[in-house]
Amino acid sequence: MGEESSVKLHGFWASPYAMRAVLALKVKGVEFEYIEEDLFNKSELLLKYNPVHKKVPVLVHNGKPIAESLVILEYIDQVWTDPPHLLPKDPYLRSKHRFWAAFSIPLSETMMRYVVTEGEEQMNAQNELLEKMDVLEQGMKEIFPNGIPSFQEDKPGYLDIVFYSLFGTHEAAEELFGEKFLTVERYPLLVSWVNALKEVPEVQQVTLPIPKVVKTLQFIRQRHLPPKA
């Protein structure tokens, strides 16, 4: 009775997936210890807690590990049951939110492909990314049938967290590649969604400064592109 629960999160400062877990814990008001992992020199603990994927984030609750960001978000919502709730209660709405969260996976794969390619391959990735964003923009109408919340009273939930982690620092990619992706003309709902989330204090606490994200993207790009002659 009255035992303190131990909550630790193994993350990496530049990982959008780790950001999801951190943001969810902050939104829920859960006290936790954050452990920064060096992804180029992973700790024994990380390898022990996530032997299958060896990746962050890993949430360790009372010594028990939970891995995969979407699984972690649902776990947090189930354990810390006081509001705000991350997912809706209704099973049909939950299935819709899970569907769109699953859509974030091919979306982020295309984003990565855009970052690490050049020439025609990059053009193709860009077109694919914009098309997927078109699909998401359409999906916003069913996710938010009553319009984008202002987040002044409501806190971010599951889908807000998932997509903010991918779009929250879009300016960095736009600066690095000299291309504006998230235009209000083509994506009015996505733009208002991201902008509304940026006003939320917990979101501001987890958002990296744009110059840092630019450097990160540059680093990732250089690692993957073939060396120039």
Partner: protein, 208 residues
């Protein structure tokens, strides 16, 4: 293979009074499918009281949440539930792309793929351990996610030359236990029929 998951889940819940509409996804998709799954245009789609639910594991979880009075497919304990969801995610993340390489690509440079494939199957064996099913005493979310690939096992052996019984005897034993259940045996596609279809598919696609 993904529609079979939904059939098993419905059978486990004792839901038999439903309409099953066969789509010819290779030739042409029906207007209803395109309307109900405009994003991916894929099956399975469950339509419950006129509302569509897409993505097989999302459908299975929906079924578990709606028909929650019997045969739980996911544990109620949050940690055990997260464990099950992690492993179901592993099935689709790892198993799906690797097994597809075995039958959907030409036969050269298969050594790496075969090695990766066996490693994945052994990872499942390790996770299963001494349990009867991944779900414990009865089949659960992970069993449903994985067992549907069993209908492709003859296909994997045919194209890889591997003997899966020799490589992963515990996993084969688990699969046979699953097949003893009506919900599984009535939902799984026939292994030989699947192999026939894949052979045809490879001819159409020009894969030697």
């Amino acid at each position: 293979m993904f529609a079979m998951r939904v059939k098993i889940a419905l059978a486990e819940k004792g839901i038999t009074d439903y309409e099953c509409r066969e789509e010819n996804i290779v030739v042409s998709k029906s207007p209803l499918l395109l309307q109900m799954n405009p994003v991916h245009k894929k099956i399975p789609v469950l339509i419950h009281n006129g509302k569509p639910i897409c993505e097989s594991l999302i459908i299975v979880e929906y079924i578990d949440e709606v028909w929650n009075h019997t045969s739980p497919l996911l544990p109620t304990d949050p940690y055990l539930k997260s464990h099950a969801k992690f492993w179901a995610d592993f099935v689709d993340k790892k198993m799906y792309p690797v097994q597809k390489k075995i039958w959907a690509t030409k036969e050269e440079s298969q050594d790496e793929t075969k090695k990766e494939f066996i490693e994945i199957l052994k990872t499942f064996e390790k996770e299963l351990g001494d349990k009867c099913y991944f779900g414990g005493d009865n089949i659960g979310f992970v069993d449903i996610a994985l067992i549907t690939y069993y209908s492709f096992f003859r296909t994997y052996e045919y194209f890889s030359g591997l003997s899966l019984e020799a490589e992963c005897p515990q996993l084969i034993a688990w699969a046979k236990r699953c097949l003893l259940k009506d919900s599984v045996s009535s939902s799984l596609a026939d292994m030989d029929k699947v192999l026939e279809i894949i052979i045809e598919y490879r001819k159409i696609k020009g894969i030697a």
